[in-house]
Amino acid sequence: MQFLIEHTTEYTYSAPATEAFSELRLRPRDNLKQRVTRHNTSVQPAVVVDSYTDYFGNIVEAIAVPFRHSALTVTSLCQVQTFELNDALSGLDLSISEAQAVNHEKRRELHDFLRPSTFVHFDGNVRAMARDLLPPSANFSEALHRLNRHIFSKYRYRPGSTDVTTTVSQFLATGEGVCQDFTHLMIALCRCAGIPARYVSGYIESDPPAGDKQRNDPEMIGSAASHAWLEVHAPNGMWIGFDPTNKMRESERHVQIGIGRDYADVPPLKGIFKGSQKQKLSVQVRVVRSDAVTPEE
């Protein structure tokens, strides 16, 4: 499938900022599942956009605005082709403990995805749930599918109920959250059970999930397409995507931007502003199939 994605971020300040610095992780990566055919980032006011590849292989764009300005707008436009992949889990018939044994060989490379991280902690609840839901003797692939469904049905998707600083423990306490929380929880459970898991940020072509219909927060309108899910490392060396928020596997309708240990490694936007007391952030995301749409340029 071919998608045209337009991601616009605008900061407006209470008083003009004298300096602003920002790092953006908005540019989809190239991999087996997808190919970026066109990409453009523009910034207003006009400054140089530097880009580099970070520790986890994500493309980062960095901007510095060292002069007075009253608003900062970043528009990221890209065209991505996604492919349907064979089910990497099919025919993988082994238990979780066997999978662990296979992964042992690569424990150095996988270390980061087995350890707690900024938002993913192993508290008592998480440990108990992991023992319960991912016992060592269970079938690797079945257990993961079951867990994906379990998280979907047990927790409530409610936008605005959590924010970007919510940890797994807090999510468990309230039982409601957004895609990021669903993802963090499943990552925590997998890691606890010795299954390497990593966070994926990206876009999804979808109608807003159920329960999202009545959203009335004007700041967030249009950002529904920003999404998060996770990948687990299978013993065959493949990373397999699960989307517990939507009770599905990663599909052709998912577009990956970046991967990391958790949200802290792949925030779409980081910013430092000087001189301004408050800044207001508004995000607009548009994901459309471009098989039908002709690119404007």
Binding site: T18, E19, F21, S22, E23, P45, A46, V47, V48, D50, Y52, T53, D54, Y55, F56, A62, A64, P66, F67, R68, R108, H111, D112, R115, K270, G271, I272, K274
Partner: protein, 830 residues
């Protein structure tokens, strides 16, 4: 007078080694020398060290300034021993550089399993964003230091590696300065390696890592400023190196390159010598909570426009467990045995190590795995039973966070104490500049314990300082001083905007405090002379002057005239909460100079601190929220004398550089404003009795002269009773009167011309143009015209003229700020 010595000292003294010879000579000097002379040296050395003791942040946090004991008796290291140490340190620095390069590159050492990968991957100092960034010459650790002690066999071992932001060099340099100043004669007893250009060598070493094309790279030192406990050291070292000491906010990123905000615009910087921790360096990519770093610094390093020394990521080597595995790293990277061993150290994350350490914990030193400047460490043999229990619990709560080291035998050095020699535990820190080649600096730091019983040698915890003498070998002498690159003037960095801003306000507040003091003093005098029954118009003039210059409303009981002004005067003197009061201005002065102590002469600080103390002392005993009742005349006289001392100190000690000009701009802008404000009140027509109207205006004219301290100037020029026309002409237009407006404008113009030097942009000259126009308007106004009916009868236009001058002075002040201080890059892409 010299007491006994025992053990190893006796051994040292008994041997015919170079060290023994020096010690014997020193000892005999102290035994036979002139006792008052030696006393004097000891006292002097202590006084010289007080400069150090007074300097640290205790200024801000607590009033008790800690004293650093200084011991005249040096540590002496013989040539053979030093050569061994040098080789060991060179090797160690090289291993650390190999390791850091590898960790930030392909991580072969982890792939090969030489050290457990968890040690790196789980370390809070392992900065993933720094991995993959190539640094010049693959050098991460440009400046390093090692703490050494002798083990049970008497061999040197490394007890601490400082590979990220090593500290203490300034204290080592200072120890030599103290000896030079207090007892230079002692140095004739030995052939000592000179410190020579320690700081300039360091600067040149760092410049070598610049990647810009410039042959004259520009270096700045990045510090967290007065918030850092090491602020004094940073300032001192920056001064010795001749580089600006900057904070994160002084720098910004323009076109992926670090720039310093200066009064001349944004200036590109090639090398950042950082004195803050890794994680604080870039709040955008690393710790977002850090207020000290430079957002996007990492991008600049990645783009190779700026180098950071020590490189970002070097902190991962501040790991005591990895340091204890240096022998493996030595084998892996150099295929050599480790020359200087690391002290025996148990990693408490290992069950075996934990068991071994816990079984003998009472004879261990315990510290965190990840070294931090403010970390807790425990000398278990000095702990009480309760403290031991707490330590065990702390360890067991997070064993993998700690290491334990069996205590080494004490390393006693002879020290003077109460006229005798006494042995104290001591430690040695050696510094090295590391790159393709590593140079061990002949400038080492020796600290000793406060008393014979303790082991702690930290200067902050009672430890003392002494000089370290490294002896020359038989035929070796100091290598000749290296060529020092003189920077061409155009490559010289201009003054940082923040410092210029502080200096300008320092000048303004100092002047404002002085003016307020004089006004209060004169008003109090007049009040006393007339016993509070001054004429209505004089009373109105004085009140209006006070109100206009301080912004403080003066309460006035209804229906009474000539009430006692003293309560209002005392409040305006001492109420520090009122920003317009003398106390408030002095506090602002002190805050401003505290923030830039490293860039101002210490003499200036001393006077300001003294003035501050005078005001504080005067207000002692006041009820909360009130001010004390004081002798206004006595206090103001004392203060005015100190303000003279302040301008004297500034005139005497400040370089006539850009900094001076901003200080001077502040002083003269403020003075011009006050002069005009007071004059404006004097020419305000007031309702007067017809009888004696002339006399009343003369009275005001006379008073105006007193308020501005111009009486003598007036008499010598006019030799007559004051009339308002002459007085205003003198005050506004005479170019020789230091308090006069015209003189102030001349000074402002001359400073603005100097500051503008060489700036090309049109806009930069805006303040100068503005000031020139104002000065010309003042000079060519015919003031006689404003007195159409008589020299004591100004018409209303004069008041309006004064108002417009005030307005233009304020505009000038904000234009200066906009152009030189609140620096903004121009949007260069347009």
């Amino acid at each position: 007078m010299i007491g006994t010595a025992s053990g190893s000292l006796d051994e040292t003294l008994g041997t015919p080694t170079p060290v023994g010879n020096v010690y014997r000579r020193l000892l005999s000097h102290f035994r036979t020398g002139d006792i008052p002379d030696i006393r004097r040296s000891i006292d002097l050395s202590q006084r010289l060290t007080e400069d150090l003791s007074a300097a640290p942040t205790s200024l801000r946090s607590s009033p008790d300034r800690r004293r650093i004991p200084f011991d005249l008796f040096p540590r002496v290291i013989g040539p053979a021993e030093w050569i061994g140490l040098e080789a060991g340190i060179r090797q160690r620095a090289s291993i650390w550089n190999h390791f850091l390069r590898d960790i930030h590159d392909s991580q072969e050492v982890l792939k090969a399993g030489i050290i457990p990968f968890e040690l790196v991957y789980d370390s809070p100092d392992y900065l993933r964003p720094a991995v993959g960034i190539k640094v010049p010459d693959d050098v991460f650790c440009h400046f390093c230091a090692f703490d050494l002690a002798r083990d049970a066999q008497g061999r040197w071992t490394v007890i601490e590696d400082h590979v990220s932001t090593p500290k203490g060099a300034v204290y080592a340099l200072h120890a030599r300065n103290v000896i030079n100043g207090a007892a230079a004669g002692l140095m004739e007893f030995a052939d000592i390696q000179a410190h020579r250009n320690f700081a300039t060598d360091m600067l040149e070493h760092f410049r070598g890592f610049s990647r810009g094309g410039s042959t004259e790279p520009r270096v700045v030192m990045l510090s967290s400023g007065p918030d850092s406990p090491d602020y004094f050291e940073h300032g001192h070292l920056a001064r010795l190196m001749g580089v600006p000491l900057v904070r994160g906010d002084d720098l910004t990123v323009l076109n992926t390159s670090i720039h310093l905000k200066t009064i001349g615009g944004l200036e590109p910087i090639d090398v950042v010598f950082r004195r803050i921790e890794d994680s604080q360096l870039d709040p955008l990519t690393l710790d977002p909570e850090s207020p000290y770093g430079i957002p996007a610094l990492l991008s600049c390093v990645r783009k190779r426009t700026t180098s950071v020394v020590n490189a970002i990521g070097a902190g991962v080597a501040s790991n005591r467990v990895i340091a204890s595995m240096l022998n493996r790293l030595s084998k892996f990277y150099l295929n050599e045995p480790l020359l200087l061993p690391t002290v025996e150290r148990y990693a408490l994350r290992d069950p075996d190590g934990r068991e071994a350490a816990l079984s003998r914990l009472e004879s261990c030193f315990v510290a965190p795995v990840h070294a931090r400047p403010d970390e807790s460490r425990w000398l278990a043999d000095e702990l009480s039973d309760g403290e031991m229990e707490t330590l065990r619990r702390t360890i067991m709560a997070a064993p993998s966070s700690f290491v334990a080291e069996p205590l080494l035998p004490r390393d006693p050095l002879p020290c003077f104490n109460a006229g005798g020699l006494e042995e104290r535990h001591s430690g040695l820190r050696v510094f090295a500049l590391s790159g393709r080649k590593t140079r061990v600096l002949p400038c080492a730091l020796t600290r000793f314990a406060a008393d014979a019983k303790t082991r702690s040698i930290s200067l902050g915890r009672g430890g003392g300082l002494k000089d370290t003498w490294i002896l020359h070998g038989p035929k070796e002498s100091d290598s000749p001083a290296r060529t020092i690159i003189i920077q061409s003037p155009e490559r010289r960095l201009r003054l940082g905007s923040r410092i210029a801003d502080r200096l300008l306000w320092l000048g303004r507040y100092a002047e404002r405090a002085e003016n307020a003091t004089r006004l209060l003093r004169v008003i109090d005098q007049i009040n006393a002379e007339t016993e509070g029954r001054q004429t209505h118009s004089l009373d109105a003039f004085l009140r209006a002057t006070l109100e206009k210059t301080t912004g403080h409303r003066i309460a006035r009981p209804r229906g009474r005239r000539g009430i006692d002004l003293r309560p209002a005067l005392t409040t305006l003197l001492l109420d520090a909460k009122n920003p317009a009061s003398v106390a408030g201005c002095i506090r602002a002065c002190r805050d401003n100079i505290l923030a830039i102590r490293e860039s101002t002469p210490p003499e200036l600080w001393r006077v300001i601190d003294r003035i501050h103390q005078i005001v504080e002392t005067a207000n002692v005993g006041a009820a909360p929220g009130r001010v004390a009742i004081v002798d206004i005349q006595g206090l103001t006289q004392e203060l005015l004398a100190q303000f003279d001392a302040l301008s004297g100190a500034a005139g005497r000690h400040m370089l006539r550089d850009d900094g001076w000009h901003f200080w001077s701009l502040g002083c003269h802008l403020e003075r011009a404003l006050v002069t005009v404000l007071v004059s404006r009140e004097a020419v305000q027509p007031r309702s007067q009795n017809r009888n004696g109207a002339e006399r009343q205006v003369e009275e005001i004219a006379d008073c105006l002269l007193r308020l501005l301290a111009c009486q003598y100037a007036y008499r010598s020029l006019f030799q007559s009773r004051p009339n308002l026309c002459n007085v205003t002409t003198l005050i506004l237009q005479d170019g020789h009167l230091p308090r006069g407006l015209r003189y102030c404008m001349d000074e402002i113009l001359s400073s603005l011309r100097s500051v503008l030097a060489g700036r090309a942009e049109d806009t930069a000259s805006a303040p100068l143009r503005m000031a020139s126009k104002l000065a010309a308007d003042i000079e060519f106004t015919d003031l006689d015209e404003f007195f159409p009916t008589g020299p004591n009868e100004p018409d209303r236009r004069l008041g309006r003229l004064a108002d417009s001058i005030c307005e233009r002075l304020s505009q000038l002040s904000s234009t200066i700020s906009d152009h030189y201080l609140h620096h903004q890059a121009f949007n260069i892409l347009r």
